[in-house]
Point group: C2
Chain length 550, copies 2
């Protein structure tokens, strides 16, 4: 019997995008694949699924229901991975607390997100107990612990041990909030961002496609062994644990980061794919030099701060396939990856290849990148004009938690404002030239602080360099460089040497003459934010009255 109308969709055909679905293919295809935590634990995906079920039943027994928040304070662990899955899969919200924030900021974020349960590694127990109000509000505090009896009362393992494994994760609206965390922004209080199931599933699919489809360089595939080196509280370790889980690859969690621990785990477990900020990469290379350890066969995505070509070259010399990715807390985080195009190959260490490896890179599938001027008009195409990078994609945070004005500012004109200045070249590579707030406006022209930093760093005796804007009565602003010299460096090395070095780039046309800073200041260490980025706000405050050559 046929009806003349097409029937409305039957119930089963509605398929909301939910994090639980990321487990479907690995559980049938790779149930015996390994997940490793430091030297302490090693289990299979099948066991992961069982523990996720136990965790969900356990949290339910503690009163966690749909929409409730569960906060985690932990190093990178298999337990954190279990929380990445079980908490949102049961319809609750996973709050990944940033343990690198100041105690006051951390307390603020926990107060605002109102967790019903706190899962806290023993290392942070004392800290959390000082947050009287938060502890009072949280229904329960569970201890994550490697060292002592895992099944001690009040512990995570005890909860799992007394719970059943066969939790049936329900279907619900794909726009349900899955995760929440706070950006450690250098200005003002931390701002809460959140991601829905739909957003995380779409980010996972698009990141998987972007990393799997390259012909060779930097690709992430089923044969890889994955280890995060970006903390799991930092934008879900860039979302990669979700990607690795969906792919069914072997996963290795390093706990608290130490260069020697990471290198030992990498060698023992055969890790081939990781991601980190430049500072971590530098620490690993230093340690590898010390220990005379080879690092070949390791693909590392570098992001979170600009990736100096000098560091990329050094990593390549160690046999690492290092290349950049670009994103931020508000973008889930991936926007672009700097996989090399077909004309450059994986082993190419030419200056051109290094340049492309350290650019922000090329857009993920579905990512709409626009470069706009201050009136939100697209800059002219193809002539290397810089402008602000604004975005649309199905995985960008939709709002800051309880902050309407910042949300309005973020989504001004219907696009997400990255606050980054950049150029999109003919091959689709995005190059970040500066942070909008770090750009130096001198004599009516824009100077890129990061370009200057990169050039200064290429001096053989410069270890690190930051460039900030300082007020100038004549030009509005002038660039000032703050430099850490190599140890040792010759006593003759001084500000004049750096200015001479920069003059060469003026001669070759890379920078205008007025880009050379009058003031170059030498320090032993550069101030950094809680996530290891240069703290330019602190530098601007400290150096705004410093004048003249130093």
């Amino acid at each position: 019997m046929q009806s003349s109308e097409t029937p409305s969709p039957p119930a089963g055909s509605q398929y909301p995008l939910l994090i639980k679905q990321l487990l479907l293919s690995p559980l049938t295809q790779a149930p015996d694949q390994s997940i490793v935590y430091r030297d302490n634990h090693r289990y299979t995906y099948r066991a992961l699924r069982e523990r996720i079920g136990r965790l969900a039943f356990g949290l339910q027994s503690l009163g966690v229901g749909h929409g409730d928040t569960v906060a985690v304070l932990d190093w990178d662990s298999h337990r954190y991975l279990e929380c990445f899955l079980a908490v949102p899969m049961m319809g609750a919200v996973l709050m990944t607390a940033n343990i690198r924030l100041s105690p006051q900021q951390l307390q603020y974020t926990l107060e605002q997100s109102k967790p019903k349960v706190l899962l806290v590694h023993r290392d942070f127990l004392e800290l959390v107990e000082s947050f009287s109000e938060v502890v009072r509000n949280a229904k329960c505090l569970l201890i994550l612990d490697d060292e002592e009896d895992c099944t001690a009362a009040g512990g995570y393992e005890a909860l799992l041990a007394r719970s059943r494994a066969d939790f049936r994760f329900p279907d619900f609206d794909e726009n349900t909030c899955a995760t929440q965390f706070y950006t450690s922004g250098t200005t003002g209080l931390p701002k809460g961002v959140s991601y829905s199931h739909r957003q995380i599933v779409l980010h996972t699919l698009a990141v998987c496609a972007a990393f799997a489809m390259p012909a060779s360089q930097g690709r992430f595939h089923r044969g890889d062994v994955y280890m995060p080196l970006t903390p799991m509280f930092h934008v879900h370790a860039w979302g990669m644990p979700y990607v690795a889980t969906m792919m069914g690859v072997k996963q290795v969690y390093p706990g608290r980061y130490t260069p020697e621990g990471i290198l030992a785990l990498r060698a023992r477990e055969g890790v081939t794919f990781s991601h980190c900020v430049p500072t971590i990469l530098q620490m690993l290379l230093d340690r590898a030099d010390l220990d005379r350890v080879g690092l070949s066969g390791w693909k590392i995505v570098v992001g979170g701060a600009s990736f100096p070509t000098s560091l990329a070259s050094r990593a390549m010399e160690h046999g690492i396939d290092a290349f950049a990715g670009y994103g931020m807390s508000e973008t889930c985080p991936f926007v672009t990856t700097s996989h090399l195009g077909p004309s450059l190959c994986a082993t190419d260490d030419s200056a051109e290849a290094m340049t492309y490896r350290t650019r922000a890179g090329r857009a993920l599938p579905l990512m709409d990148i626009q470069i706009v001027d201050e009136a939100m008009q697209p800059v002219p195409e193809g002539n290397h004009t810089q402008g602000e990078i604004v975005l649309r994609a199905p995985w960008l945070t939709q709002a800051y938690h309880m902050n309407a004005s910042a949300t309005e500012e973020l989504w001004r004109g219907g696009y997400l404002h990255t606050g980054d200045i950049g150029i999109l070249d003919e091959a689709g590579y995005l190059r970040i030239t500066d942070r909008l707030k770090d750009v130096i406006k001198t004599g009516g022209e824009w100077l890129s602080s990061s370009t200057l930093e990169d050039l200064i760093r290429q001096h053989q005796y410069v270890r690190e360099a930051a460039v900030i804007a300082v007020p100038d009565s004549r030009w509005g602003e002038r660039p000032m460089a703050i430099v850490v010299a190599t140890t040792p460096s010759p006593s003759s090395f001084n500000a004049a040497a750096i200015r001479n070095h920069l003059s060469d780039y003026v001669t070759s046309g890379h920078i205008p003459k007025y880009a050379i800073p009058e003031t170059i200041h030498f320090v032993d260490e550069l101030p950094r934010t809680s996530v290891g980025k240069y703290d330019k706000r602190a530098m601007r405050e400290r150096y705004q009255h410093v004048r003249g050559p130093s």
Copy 2:
């Protein structure tokens, strides 16, 4: 200023999944990549975008608006690819008419889908003009033509030539219908299925991930050159033109299929990735033998019918990396792909590797496969019990067009019923054992017709074989084999030889003794459906009264 409530999502942060977004990354990253049509046309992705814009303006000028249907009758061409994109991107519905249906069936599907515009290749013009009612209803008929003056009035090229390129494709609800086509089912009238933008985008992402993430065998990557060998009216050429476009790879469209034309194009354009039904693969291998042409470096996904291991071995001998995919018109179509697991490598031609290459394969990401009994209960896990394959995924057709009862049957119990009988093994490989309607119920047991067919085909003098159920007063049903012998074959080759051959598999425990057919019938040709599958309904009708050994 902070508010105490989290603000509702700003407009720009709503990002419906739309087909137009598949073009975002290739247009920035690979604007100069090639698209080739036979010997006639070669242009870039940039030109593709321009022509899509012209086509949309042109169709708009003919009165096509949001929700209107545009039907296409064409061979595989660059123009068809333009329609795949422009028609849904403007909010209209692309109806891909199945030119292999009988004239009556084709007319029925066109009458039911009510196109406002018909785009018809000159080869089908006469046929379409015989459909008086359809032509009367369609506002306009446009001619697709390779041979004559492309810009003749009433032609597709003339429409493009007089239209502007800068069409701005709007945002709309992601659940908007994008495509529609009719299944050529062997029973009853063709049934219309449709796919929304959301479904096609999600299928594209998941197929891209599934084909890109394997470590090596059968992977589809940015360096590949793509050519469809499944007609574009057949489930969007399995959705692969959308995947290839999103990846920004070189694409080659072969027009009307001829073995010599396909092989010449493959060689000239360096095609490395294709997909087809077994019949086409067999035609290509025959032609390659005749021409003594090597086919190495060609990855071919085989689906649409069971993939005999003998054919897979033959393809491998020609240097083709051939492996199966599984899906159907109702599933967009991909459900599984038979990429080899890590223990088997790309060049392995062992019997075990061949077995895995020809199975339906492993689930795509997000695909929920259940094997159920007649009461919709899951069969016991891990003991190779067969049952019906039922599915959930975000890209399954939600309804048959104007057919409530068939829709209800399709989605019985909240899962899509494939009508296929299968087994899911411990490694996650799905093996199709039969069509539910082709399974032979004899003496209370189920016999798989396709298993019997595969074993019979392994006899050296058997070219093709089909097994059907015939009524039997004692056993309910009995298997009957219909066989095409090789030419030449010895005169001694007869039904007894086949029964002897099958006896060996009884001895080795592959099949029970009662699986051996009493009746084995030799024919010159097997009846096939319009898409080249065995027409078992026709066979059952023809042979239901045939009895005894032949």
